[in-house]
């Protein structure tokens, strides 16, 4: 290619211009929506932390009450990390390279698979521990059998959900995985 041809292309290219839309109103709306979502989420976390802090502030609590408090705090901590991580991913998808966006989606699916397995075995472990400890804790109560029937039936329902988590997570993620595969094929076709 000659320099003259390149210069002619470049002058054609740079000579073009057109109107760009005014996005002030739309963008302010989006920023406000993001802000509101963040405030609502962290307000919820703050309420939960305040409630747990109240539990910790009362002296002479039984140790297992503190343990539950720590579990709730850990849960909300994990939720906050997940929330911020997803927000970061949304930002990557909005402005990042499509390969980075696909890589993020793939990482997300991997993490979900891992968490599903973690939840399955962690909850099973908790159930075993609960089944061993709970009958002793309620042995002196007025209606231990009723308490056990209620607790164990709820536990069985939750165990059903958590133990099948890898299966239903895989089922839910199958369309996303297919979409990612299609996206990768398309990027290869387009030499991206």
């Amino acid at each position: 290619m000659t320099d003259a041809e390149w210069n002619s292309w470049q002058s054609t290219w740079k000579g073009a211009m057109g109107p760009l839309p005014d996005v002030h109103a739309r963008t302010r709306r989006e920023v406000r929506r993001h802000l509101l979502a963040n405030v609502a989420f962290f307000l919820l976390v703050a309420v939960a932390v305040a409630a747990v802090a109240h539990v910790f502030s009362v002296p002479d609590r039984e140790p297992w009450v503190h343990l539950i408090g720590w579990i709730i705090l850990a849960f909300f901590g994990a939720m906050s990390i997940g929330y911020l991580w997803i927000q970061r991913g949304i930002a990557v998808r909005a402005t990042g390279n499509p390969r980075a966006a696909v890589a993020f989606l793939e990482r997300r699916l991997r993490v979900e698979r891992f968490v599903a397995h973690l939840v399955r075995w962690a909850y099973l472990g908790l159930c075993v521990a609960f089944a061993l400890v709970f009958p002793r804790l309620v042995a002196d109560h007025q209606a231990p059998k009723l308490e056990m029937a209620i607790s164990f039936s709820f536990m069985a329902i939750v165990l059903g959900v958590t133990f099948s988590a890898p299966w239903w997570v895989a089922r839910r993620n199958r369309p996303y995985q297919e979409e990612i595969d299609r996206w990768r094929r398309w990027m290869d076709e387009q030499s991206l």
């Binding site: 054609t12 996005v23 739309r26 402005t95 390279n97």
Partner: protein, 162 residues
């Protein structure tokens, strides 16, 4: 730099990047909205580790690529013909824009990897910056650029011969 100052300085380059992914009409308007909002939201994250021009063009091209993906997923027919510019033909900018629109139409026939590199090279960006934007090596930029130029020239020659 405020968003309005940025658009005053880099608006034409943004518009050209948008035009290389969407034909004139509603599709281009939608993509333009999308790009402008993405630039606005990303501006506070600009840390100065590249030029502002690279920063905004990276966003525009990435949004353009996502747009092309959505388009490819939703329909398979070729892009619709351009909607004519409503301005009078005597307008000097009209003539320039019509020539540019023809050029953009040829550009949009290239595979996206080549199109992105060629559009950035036409914008005057050095190979190193193009490589950083496209996420490829400098050698790869040179290879893609060579192929893109050849393909674009073929496309223009075919139209002239027809």
């Amino acid at each position: 730099m405020t968003f309005d100052e940025l658009i005053r300085e880099h608006g034409p380059a943004l518009w050209r990047a948008i035009a290389s992914y969407a034909p004139r009409g509603a599709e281009r308007d939608d993509l333009a909205q999308d790009v402008m909002v993405a630039v606005w939201l990303a501006l506070p994250r600009f840390r100065g580790d590249c030029s502002l021009q690279s920063f905004v063009l990276r966003i525009a091209h990435n949004r353009g690529l996502s747009h092309a993906w959505r388009r490819a997923r939703m329909r398979t027919e070729p892009e619709p013909p351009d909607i004519p510019d409503p301005r009078p033909a005597a307008d000097e900018q009209f003539v320039v824009n019509e020539r540019a629109e023809r050029f953009h139409r040829h550009l949009r026939t290239l595979p996206l990897g080549q199109r992105e590199v060629l559009a950035l090279a036409l914008e005057g960006l050095p190979h190193a910056e193009i490589a950083a934007i496209a996420g490829i090596t400098i050698e790869n930029v040179a290879v893609r650029l060579g192929r893109a130029r050849a393909a674009l020239r073929r496309s223009i020659e075919q139209e002239e011969a027809a």
